[in-house]
Amino acid sequence: MGERKATVAAEVGLHARPAATFVQMAMKAPMDVTVARSSGGDPINGKSILQIMALDVRKGEEIVIRAEGDGSEEILDRLADIASTP
């Protein structure tokens, strides 16, 4: 399974604008996309803004994004970019 690690750089964490942008990109993926804290915990559905908000990732925390299948590498790159954009 493909994965990327990204350190969340937005001041507000993975909320509001970064969360909405992330989910919009994840929704474009034909395959499942999951997000978890690198430090552990259950992965959540990366296409759900509710679950992303519930995960409550703060600035400076590292997440791991996973997806598998055709085109997943490109999607993972783009999602990691969004998560690590200040």
Binding site: V12, H15, A16, R17, A19, A20, T21, Q24, S48, I49, L50, M53, A54, D56
Partner: protein
Amino acid sequence: MTTVLAPVEGAAVGLAAVPDPVFSAGMVGPGTAIDPSRGPGEAVAPITGKIMKLHPHAYVIVGDDGRGVLVHLGIDTVQLKGRGFRLLAAEGDRVSAGQPVVAWDPTEIEAGGRSPVCPVVALDALDSAVTALAEGTVRAGDELFQWT
């Protein structure tokens, strides 16, 4: 179906009127926005459920069916770091629709140069699932829209 109540008193103006493209373009989800009446007021729970996230400037209530509704009190209000807001409930609390969650004063938000407009958004909902949007004057606790 979920009936979503107006969290604050004011004028229902639609998401397109929100001065933040993340909300006005519907990126967070479908719903509407309320231009709140100025002066001290209390923002209430739009649905019955659990307070999944409670920030001073925004909260998410999740109903028993798993549906989440976001209420955002003003735009760019995260920058206030809680100034001007007083919590009337705690994260994890179970609340009834119409129960006060945060006390605030839109006048203060506006005086600080920010828009006090409040997006009310159905999270993870299709645009077509939100119907019967209220228009014009609403009071806190009035029906704001239906989530089918």
